[in-house]
Subunit: 257 residues, 4 copies
């Protein structure tokens, strides 16, 4: 029996860092439906959306401050002990502090810029580091992969928009980290991907109405549906290592770019 | 019954322009297996690989000189008449003329550079134009798409390598065309994608041995398997229009970039 | 006496391919004022602007169809014989055929797309090839350079705009060629640069009024002044080989990008 | 007398944040030679190189911790009071902490990554913010500019290299900040530029020998000479606002990229 054959039995364990009713929830539902054990980590693991995911999809909830090194290390230890070592890690934290949105470069308080970078980019470093550390020990699966690390990103990773300096820093930093990790870890069998979503996220709520993250955005076609984003994450996770994508920008059909 | 519901019955018709034992054959097999009607167009439709695809996968063979406007128009008419209007078109032509490989800028005969651009980029224009013209008339399918146009490209689209000036022109031109078409056609419901493959292509032959396109390349992990490339093309075709990717670079895990 | 010292005496010979009242004329005037011998090549060397440049700046006029290999070769021979081997070559041809502006992908006649690529990108190949061939024989100047090749480009080289497919192809192709040539020729001491101008060009006419290339554009700040573009070309030519720039995008302060 | 004419008398005041024997010193010498009043800020303003610059070029030395908001604000106040409001600000801080060089993603201590980002990117935010705040009050000069802000960057801003994750984050962040500031501030007459140097920096010491920043690099052609880098900074500062460059990558002729 070849090494590859035995590897088809690898049990997928997905860890989603960052929670919310959009991409994280969609990923949790899809990954669970596809047979993975799923963990979701949040500063506050008692959010209603997480309790719902626990009930409907069997997702495990974890408390984690993703910008604190010790907290992130503890998270990976707990998940590893309880569900098994992660084979798919999604960093899904936007990180913008309240009040920073559309502030000009001279209007942003330095502390707000600092916190945005720490929340978003530094947490990506910590999560990526722990994921790399653990995935190295995984056996390769049928596609030759020891694991997949996906960084959700924003259009601010592709373009520095005016009145968005601090967020541009955070998103560019996350993209640079992801690219460095991809070049370093892919030859070790760890698939690293950066996925900028070039749109606001919109989803259908339990009552059938559409919701979205950014106040003031009209609810129409120009929103990326997180259920479909999750499909592309799953495709990335299932790519054979002979054809790995590093970056996929997702945008709605009517988005200007 | 909503417009979307009726659209789930859309019969997929795939047209692959360019033929060969690599990406074209893999796409033909996969698309056929997924229930699409499949057409493959080649300068010489009597190549053994096409006869094999006809027998094993029910693929229809078409003769076409993809750099001749009249020939391309005729191809789309014939396919439309015999299989139905294409909903997925793959332009899969490399276009390099014999002898141009690794020639320095002063060593390439102008005529060779000219033919490479015409074979690759101008044919992409012709195929893209006809595809756009026909797909506009399609009904949207369940994902809201009237059709998908995929341009296979090379790493020369991402980077102008030394001793590769003419091919860099051709690949960059194809990428620029694809990007312009994506911005123009996506809001009309036509998904356009550029897929640079950052590797030589390698596949397993009938006798179990590995083959590849470029003489002198060693047959090892550092080859992109076209069966896996085809999977990503299928994923692109099935993306919902709320989350369309324009560009996906595919490369093997051990490739330097 | 060191090799470098003797090289300070190198007489600069500038050849500008493409003519017109904008960038070509500004370059011709500035280069001449800086002590270079200047040649300007045009399909029709009897254009009034060229006669004016001849009178006011001592510029030599040459006839050349830049998309014809034999004509380009002849041009370099003539300039070499009459002024000396070029040390600075500017390819300044836009190449769009009449009627192609803002045409959608299905509205452009294939022949128009073809001619645009040939006029712009293929002529860049021919001019670049001849320049490389001749500059290789030059002695290095005080900055260690055997010559400088500058390709004027457009924002369509950076972004494929909708309703601009053929021009996107041409400009991307030129950029890819320039990048390949830069990687190949810089280590030989030939500085290659791609300069996309992200704006319409506007200049002051003899009567003091402002003129510009694109009909329908308002004459205001949002135009790039070719006299200032020429200054950056001169800076590129004078960069020491320890710090060569390959690409500089120039845009007016109020331009959106 | 037109507004522009009176503006030719604007006295240039250059503030260089970050000090060292490479780019900062070269800029200080050149800017001083060109008639500007020059300030250099460093954590330790008593470094010998700064005393030398003070003696030979009349440069003023300032103490500043560029990652501390209050310290940066104080710096701009002092320079404004003593030399006049800056018209040219160069952020020239690399920011890598000792020991981080070529460390893999799992080898870097989180605190080192954090400090590298703060030293480099957060300080760029603080310096850029203060520069924007002050330059807005400047009168436009003869080129229509109220001031120029230049961020020195590294090739890690262009590409995430393996074993360089934290530095990739910092450099990408700085590039994203610069791009956002450029889009926001250029229409206000403030020229913002990002200048990645794709090479190690090498310079000639007082004793005629060559020195460079990175231990283990051989001293040869493959080093960017900071005196020539300073020339491009000066060119950027003198560009007319009708043709501003945002990004210029500088690399030695023999550098691979």
């Amino acid at each position: 029996m070849s090494e590859t054959d035995t590897q088809t039995q690898v049990q997928d364990v997905a860890l989603i860092v960052g929670s919310g009713p959009g991409i994280s929830a969609s990923c949790a539902r899809l990954f669970s439906k596809e047979g993975m054990r799923v963990a979701v980590a949040a500063r506050n693991p008692d959010k209603p959306v997480l309790h719902t995911l626990e009930k409907t999809s069997g997702v495990r909830r974890y408390a984690c401050d993703a910008s604190d090194p010790a907290s992130v290390e503890r998270l990976f230890e707990e998940v590893g002990r309880e569900l098994g070592a992660p084979t798919l890690v999604v960093h899904n934290i936007d990180g913008r502090v309240p009040g920073i949105f559309r502030k000009g470069i001279t209007e942003v308080e330095p502390g707000m810029a600092f916190d945005t970078i720490r929340n978003s980019a530094f947490s990506a470093f910590l999560v990526g580091q722990q994921a790399a550390l653990r995935m190295r020990e995984n056996r390769p699966n049928a596609n030759g992969a020891r694991g997949t690390i996906i960084f959700t990103n924003a259009s601010a990773a592709l373009k520095g928009f005016p009145k968005s300096g601090a967020f541009a820093m955070a998103c560019h930093a996350k993209a640079g980290l992801a690219e460095s990790m991809a070049r370093e870890l892919m030859p070790e069998g760890i698939h690293v991907a950066n996925v900028p979503i070039d749109a606001a996220i919109g989803w259908t709520q339990d009552d059938g109405t559409r919701a979205h993250r950014l106040a003031g955005t009209s609810v129409d076609d120009n929103l990326a549906d997180p259920d479909h984003i999750a499909q592309t994450y799953l495709h990335l996770h299932r790519q054979h290592r002979s054809t790995w994508a590093f970056e996929i920008v997702l945008r709605p059909w009517v988005e200007k770019w």
